[in-house]
């Protein structure tokens, strides 16, 4: 049965690699003092990033909920973009705004103020807030939209002040949604690699993932890399254990609501406050991306051949990873409707991180082949595994509805096997399948993780090539490569999502 095979494949990949890592580590003896610092920084930056993102999202989501203005829908849609924006591209954008030669420092210099540095812990947190503030905003906006409009009408008819509305309606909603949003962001930041690689480093700003990379790549100290991997897994499991008490948000936050809204609260102060929240959040989101495109797009045509080759490699990896993700996610999502253990199997990759999976696969495969030759297949497998929990979360509501609506009818007509797949499952699930495929493709396209462990320059993917260009301070080429990567990632997402929407009857 397909679901069993998929579950076994995931279990073998995750538990097999963890086993290899644990066996090679042989305990935590190989750790050095610096590694404990990395563990502390990993937790600390995730705490700060998640807290800042969640708290800053409150005024933004509230403003978006109670105000209507041209471009509101586009802004909310755009807030879904950072989730699939390649980390290196975001870093390029943040450098253009907050970097040494960025807009911010130019402004400070004009005012005669000292320059600020984006490198170090503050840069890591800044980048994490850039990624997660929009996500948190969408999740909270969904919470606001879930408050029945009748409640707000009642509040208005009773003459509630904004603070009374907050304590009676919005406060309870936030108490229910904020912890889940916070935890989701904390989990993402816990396995941060690409951001730490580009903006962090040094004793004060090294995450465990980055430490694994350094132990592996520079010192070739496999025992230490494996011990660090165990530490990372322990952190992930501890954070996931919290999800048994705090529910993670389902889905990816609000879309456009077309319901009628009540008149927004009057008053110049509130208006100004909402306008500032929306303007700052929009600028923080848009300016870095626009800066990359403005500088890079014109130069895309003259990019060196090596970059185009890397782009082709990345496309191939992304398409293969997407196919593998769907091949795993669909049978698991169908089976999970009846048996929760299939959902758990598909969520298992969350306990591992890209670099831990990479280290484990390296240890497992080294006896059989030169690791360099396996860089791309390993990247495909790891990307597919890491996209699986998201794909599963996208598909599950649809497979549950499919089961509830049509399982009995299909059974009563003897609609089984391939005919069931062709005539019922694929047409009914086209939309979430397209969305899941788009997510998987974009995440894989922009992934700079396991590929950094394995690849030599001859096998670089586009994100790795971009990282190399940044390291060589070829910033014009880097901006162009970043633009190309952004266009390809968003393009893949758009394409798959559109295929799904069109195939949906």
């Amino acid at each position: 049965m397909a679901a069993r095979l998929a579950a076994l494949a995931v279990l073998a990949l995750v538990l097999g690699t963890l086993g290899a890592v644990a066996w090679r580590a042989g305990g935590l003896g190989a750790l050095q003092t610096a590694d404990l610092g990395a563990a502390r920084f990993t937790v600390l930056q995730a705490l700060v990033s998640a807290t800042l993102s969640a708290l800053l999202a409150v005024p933004v989501a509230r403003a978006l909920h109670r105000r209507r203005f041209p471009g509101r829908g586009a802004l909310i849609s755009l807030m879904g973009a950072p989730f699939i924006l390649p980390a290196v591209v975001a870093v390029m954008g943040l450098l253009a705004v907050f970097g040494r030669a960025g807009v911010l420092n130019d402004g400070l210099a004009l005012l005669g103020l000292p320059r600020v540095s984006i490198y170090g812990a503050q840069g890591v947190v800044l980048a994490h807030v850039f990624f997660n503030l929009p996500l948190a905003t969408r999740l909270l906006l969904q919470g606001w939209q879930a408050i029945p409009v009748e409640r707000f009408r009642l509040a208005a008819s009773l003459g509630f002040t904004p603070s009374a509305t907050f304590s009676h309606l919005e406060g309870p909603m936030l108490r229910a949604t904020l912890p889940g949003a916070w935890l989701a962001i904390f989990l993402v930041c816990l396995t941060s690699f690409a951001v730490a690689l580009t903006l962090g480093g040094g004793p004060a700003a090294t995450t465990i993932e980055l430490a694994i990379y350094q132990a592996f790549r520079f010192d070739f100290d496999l025992a230490r890399a494996a011990s660090l991997g165990l530490l990372q897994v322990a952190l992930c499991i501890a954070a996931l254990a919290a999800t048994t008490r705090i529910a993670l948000p389902q889905g990816f936050g609000a879309g456009l609501d077309r319901r009628a809204v009540l008149a927004p609260p009057a008053g110049h102060v509130l208006r100004a406050q909402d306008a500032v929240a929306i303007a700052l959040a929009a600028a923080f989101l848009i300016v870095p991306m626009a800066a990359v495109l403005a500088r890079g797009l014109p130069a895309v045509a003259v990019l060196p051949a090596a970059v185009w080759l890397a782009a082709a490699r990345s496309l191939a990896v992304a398409l293969a990873a997407t196919a593998l993700t769907l091949a795993l996610a669909l049978p698991l999502a169908l089976a999970a409707v009846r048996q929760r253990r299939f959902e758990w199997a598909g969520t298992l990759p969350l306990v591992a991180s890209p670099l831990v999976l990479g280290t484990g696969l390296f240890l497992m495969l080294r006896p059989f082949a030169a690791p360099g030759t396996l860089a791309l297949p390993v990247t495909v497998a790891v990307n597919a595994a890491l996209a699986l929990p998201f794909a599963l979360r996208t598909l599950l509501p649809a497979t549950r509805a499919l089961e509830a609506d049509y399982a009995r009818l299909a059974a009563s007509l003897g609609l089984t096997g391939l005919a069931r797949l062709r005539l019922l499952i694929l047409p009914r699930l086209a939309r979430p399948l397209g969305f899941a495929a788009g997510l998987a493709a974009a995440l894989s396209m922009g992934d700079l993780g396991v590929i950094a462990l394995f690849a030599d320059p001859a096998q670089a993917t586009l994100p790795l090539q971009l990282y190399a260009l940044m390291g060589a301070y070829r910033m014009a080429d880097a901006a162009a490569a970043a633009s190309l990567l952004m266009v390809l990632s968003f393009g893949l997402f758009w394409l798959f999502d559109r295929i799904g929407t069109h195939a949906d009857a």
Binding site: R408, A411, L413, P427, R428, A505
Partner: protein, 231 residues
């Protein structure tokens, strides 16, 4: 001939027993208070609910090993009788061949079924583009195409108005009479039961009683049924 042999259905606190026979070609109403187990009884016969003990037989053959689609019956549910993403013709085609690989003969049969249920010209519509009555006819046309000797109606016409419902029941009666189909119909409406079904199975107090003349049963209802009917 449908036989329920020492049948016991159990789920949590619910328990229903049945030991009865339904003659071939009979039209039988299944009546009784809400929650008595009328739908569960049909679910068990259709293969969606495994009996705790006892057997369900069709002409002496035990249906237990047969999957729902392989049983000698068609069932119309209260709702979700059609696939919303398939056309009317495709929904009917599933009754002929679940893989929808249809021959010219199959297509001709579908056209005939459409004509007989008054659905000419609607073959390429989707269910969402049809009225409630038309949707019921499509489901009925598919049952007609499947041509199984037993038809189970789990209140498929409950959402229709009185006139439409009477029209649908008349159509069922006509089709069933032509093929000598046995029909079991769950009903909440004593008038429907009287008009449509000469026999009735009373489901009450954990028991499904053997079929008895509907008119006699409704004229002299036992206390539990009388309370339900409100007279």
């Amino acid at each position: 001939m449908l036989t329920l042999e020492n049948l016991v259905l159990e789920q949590d606190d619910f328990r229903l027993t049945a030991d009865l026979t339904v003659p071939d070609g009979a039209r039988v109403a299944v009546i009784g208070p809400s929650g008595a187990g009328k739908s569960t009884l049909l679910s068990a016969i259709a293969g969606f609910f495994a009996p705790a003990s006892g057997r369900i037989l069709w002409n002496g053959q035990d249906l237990a090993p047969l999957a729902p689609g392989a049983r000698p019956l068609s069932i119309l549910f209260q709702d979700q009788n059609l696939f919303a993403h398939l056309t009317v013709a495709q929904n009917l085609g599933l009754g002929v061949n679940p893989s929808l690989r249809l021959t010219a003969t199959d297509r001709a049969a579908i056209a005939t079924a459409l004509a007989r249920t008054g659905l000419e010209g609607l073959a390429d519509r989707r269910p969402g583009q049809l009225s409630g009555g038309q949707q019921s006819r499509v489901a009925l046309a598919r049952a007609l195409l499947r041509a199984r000797p037993l038809l189970l109606l789990d209140e498929p016409f409950a959402a229709l108005g009185p006139a439409l419902k009477a029209e649908m029941l008349a159509m069922v009666a006509k089709i069933a009479a032509e093929a000598n189909t046995t029909v079991l119909m769950v009903s909440h409406d004593p008038a429907d039961a009287r008009n449509f079904a000469p026999l009735a199975i009373l489901v009450v107090e954990g028991q499904a009683l053997a079929p008895q003349p509907t008119a006699k049963l409704l004229d002299n209802p036992p206390p539990a049924l009388a309370r339900y009917l409100g007279n």
